[in-house]
């Protein structure tokens, strides 16, 4: 997993609450047995019409948001299924950071495992960012070490993150490798049962 310390990127707004994982990556694309290549299917039925043409009004399709790497979304983002294909698609499309008022638990967990930072902001902070992002070329800088998000015209916010996911993201750890160093503890636990 790639470490994530400071990231600056173009912001794309998706002003909808309760975006579920069936929207993020529809089920017909869950049949691949690889981790890669899901970006092309991200928000598939919102990005494309039934004939496979880009829907011109969907934010991710707008010229000004091409190359965006920070997604700003409404509350309860990623609700629904546990499919990790959802964060794989988000990441493969080019997003490294998501900012939303709240997330579904499993989705948020899955993000950390893949090096995606899911920043929890207040509803009003999210609305401010959404509004700012209407302007062409709106960028944010996210500093994970300092738990800070800011632009270059005065917007600034801090955010909370638990120490463990923070360290995971900062260091890009292979979690299984870390856990295997606790083998003695696991064995002890099994023997004591």
């Amino acid at each position: 997993m790639e470490p994530l310390r400071i990231h600056q990127g173009l912001v794309c707004p998706l002003n909808r609450p309760n975006v579920d994982t069936d929207q993020i990556i529809p089920k017909q694309f869950l049949k691949r047995i690889e981790r890669s290549g899901f970006g092309q299917y991200l928000f598939y039925h919102w990005r494309f019409d039934d004939a496979g043409n880009l829907r011109p009004d969907f934010p991710l399709n707008l010229t000004k948001y091409q190359g965006a790497s920070i997604l700003v979304a409404g509350e309860n983002f990623g609700c629904g299924s546990s499919r990790e294909h959802a964060p794989w698609a988000v990441q493969d499309f080019g997003f490294k950071v998501i900012i939303a008022p709240s997330y579904a638990d499993i989705f948020k967990n899955n993000c950390v495992k893949n090096g995606i930072l899911a920043v929890q902001a207040s509803e009003s902070q999210v609305q401010t960012i959404m509004k700012n992002a209407e302007a062409e070329g709106y960028k944010l800088t996210v500093n994970l070490e300092e738990q800070r998000v800011f632009d270059n015209s005065g917007f600034e916010m801090t955010f909370d993150i638990a120490p463990y996911p923070k360290q995971m993201l900062l260091n890009g750890w292979d979690e299984i490798g870390v856990t295997l160093t606790y083998e003695d503890k696991i064995k002890q636990y099994e023997l004591a049962r």
Binding site: P17, I33, C79, G80, E84, I106, N110, Y164, I186
Partner: protein, 479 residues
């Protein structure tokens, strides 16, 4: 010394008790390292996890605590004919992975095959006090037995395969109290939909829920599974019910539970899991069971539900612009008009099945409504049992005949039209009364319109061709 004594006497709820029994290791600045007693595996969320093990030269630590089935992709018309080559590849990959890593697999030829959350309890793999995970959000189903059961992503699947543990922060606990009794004709499905409708699709986020109260205690095991199954639709990764005589009677004699005297010992242990008197929860919500009516979802998430006697809501009912937008979007997607009675809404399809409502008692109740009646000519209706053994049991009591005579298709077991990963798809713009758990946009097929209901309500709607209050419907004479 006094401090410790006090700590030991602090009353605990069942969630805290199960948690403490499974902590392998604790240290400052880290979540707890939690031991996993049972890992259920299926074909969709596991291939990348096995691949990760191979790349790193790792083994499955406890194949004996791991059990696999194939359910999401399997065909329900002809069990062994998988037309989609990518589906077939995913199924073959699970077969190969289980062989390579020494994991027991109930494949499509196997008599134990079925939906992962149906067969776990059926085989007695699911037991009170266990920690149970699966790469599937409806793992919460197993909480019906007083297990701590939750869905995980594929990275976590790989982590459990390699280490039999997970790093997990202790959850907050939420007591969902259901007071009083459910009315006649009101089901467990109506109850859980009403709970989500009342408190919203994210009131459980960050919590593990315990369902308590008189109405919960009087539910059968299969009804409890329906309730716990949809905990995740309220945002809670896990929801559980304290085990009692109903639980023990269900489990007694099942293949993987202790037998004979060992079973009685297990029961004594399971009884000690019950929430201590005076134990606290981080939050409590309450609902009166008597006020719950048969539910129908009208929108695009399970919280968007109303009693069958009500009208489709309007954006004017709410204040926040974002909520108004959400209602407008849902109405547009669902092709509904604000204010119209939901019972006027005509349907094209009926799906009885899924890990929420595909068990024998679900099929019995639906069949009871259908006995002597015919599916409306404008409706295509299928019933998909949750497992091979449910299918056999239903056939033994002649339920298949009732369904077929009424005009239902009687299918093979699998997840089927709940998420339409196989060939069972609702066409765009068409409307389905479904006993499944999610009415998200496109869930049952691109552009498909899903209305979640109980098996009884689905059966009644199949006959009427539109939603109908099953309480009045069953009171009518069969023509």
């Amino acid at each position: 010394m006094n401090v410790r004594k006090e700590a030991m006497q602090t009353p605990k709820n069942i969630i805290q008790k199960i948690w403490e029994q499974h902590v392998v290791h604790q240290e400052e600045g880290k979540p707890d390292l939690l031991y996993i007693d049972l890992h259920l595996v299926h074909e969709v969320t596991s291939p990348q996890a096995f691949e990760g093990l191979r790349i790193n030269g790792r083994k499955v630590r406890r194949p004996d605590l791991t059990y696999a089935t194939m359910d999401h992709n399997v065909p329900t018309r002809q069990r062994l004919v998988i037309n989609d080559p990518i589906s077939k590849k995913q199924i073959d990959t699970l077969q190969e992975n289980c062989q390579e890593f020494g994991i027991t697999l109930a494949d499509i030829h196997h008599p134990d095959n079925g939906i992962v959350h149906v067969i776990g309890p059926e085989l007695g793999l699911t037991q009170p006090g266990k920690t149970i995970v699966c790469g599937d959000s409806h793992t919460s189903t197993h909480g019906a037995f007083g297990a701590l059961a939750f869905g995980i992503g594929t990275s976590e699947v790989e982590h459990v395969l390699a280490t039999q543990t997970l790093w997990q922060a202790p959850p907050k606990t939420l007591n969902v109290k259901v007071n009083g009794k459910l009315g006649v004709g009101v089901t467990a499905k109506d109850l859980i939909l009403a709970i989500i409708g009342k408190f919203g699709v994210q009131f459980g986020t960050g919590y593990v829920m315990e369902y308590t109260g008189e109405a919960i205690r009087s539910l059968s095991m299969e009804e409890r599974m329906t309730v716990c199954n949809m905990s995740i639709e309220a945002g809670a990764r896990a929801g559980l019910i304290t085990p009692d005589e109903t639980t023990f009677e269900y489990l007694r004699g099942r293949r993987h539970v202790p037998q004979g005297e060992a079973f009685e010992e297990a029961v004594a242990k399971w009884q000690s899991l019950a929430t201590d008197e005076g134990a606290a929860y981080d939050a409590v919500v309450e609902i009166d069971a008597a006020e719950v009516e048969p539910q129908v979802t009208w929108g695009t998430n399970p919280g968007m539900c109303i009693p069958v006697t009500a009208n489709v809501p309007s954006p004017d009912d709410v204040d926040r612009p974002s909520e108004q937008d959400e209602i407008n979007r849902a109405l547009e997607y669902m092709g509904l008009t604000a204010g119209e009675p939901i019972s006027n809404v005509k349907i094209d399809h009926v799906f009885i099945g899924s890990c929420t409502n595909s068990r024998l008692s679900d099929l019995r109740k639906a069949a009871e409504v259908l006995r002597g009646r015919m599916v409306s000519p404008s409706v295509t209706a299928i019933v998909v049992p949750g497992s091979f053994s449910i299918k056999l049991a239903a056939e033994k009591e002649g339920l298949d005949v009732i369904f077929k005579e009424a005009g239902f298709e009687w299918r093979e077991a699998g997840c089927s039209m709940c998420l339409a990963m196989n060939d069972d798809i609702v066409p765009a713009g068409e409307r389905c009364a479904s006993t499944s758990n999610r009415n998200f946009e496109g869930r049952q097929g691109n552009g498909a319109r899903t209305h979640l209901v109980s098996p009884e309500m689905a059966a009644a709607a199949a006959v009427a061709g539109h939603f109908v209050d099953v309480r009045q419907f069953t009171a009518q004479e069969v023509m």
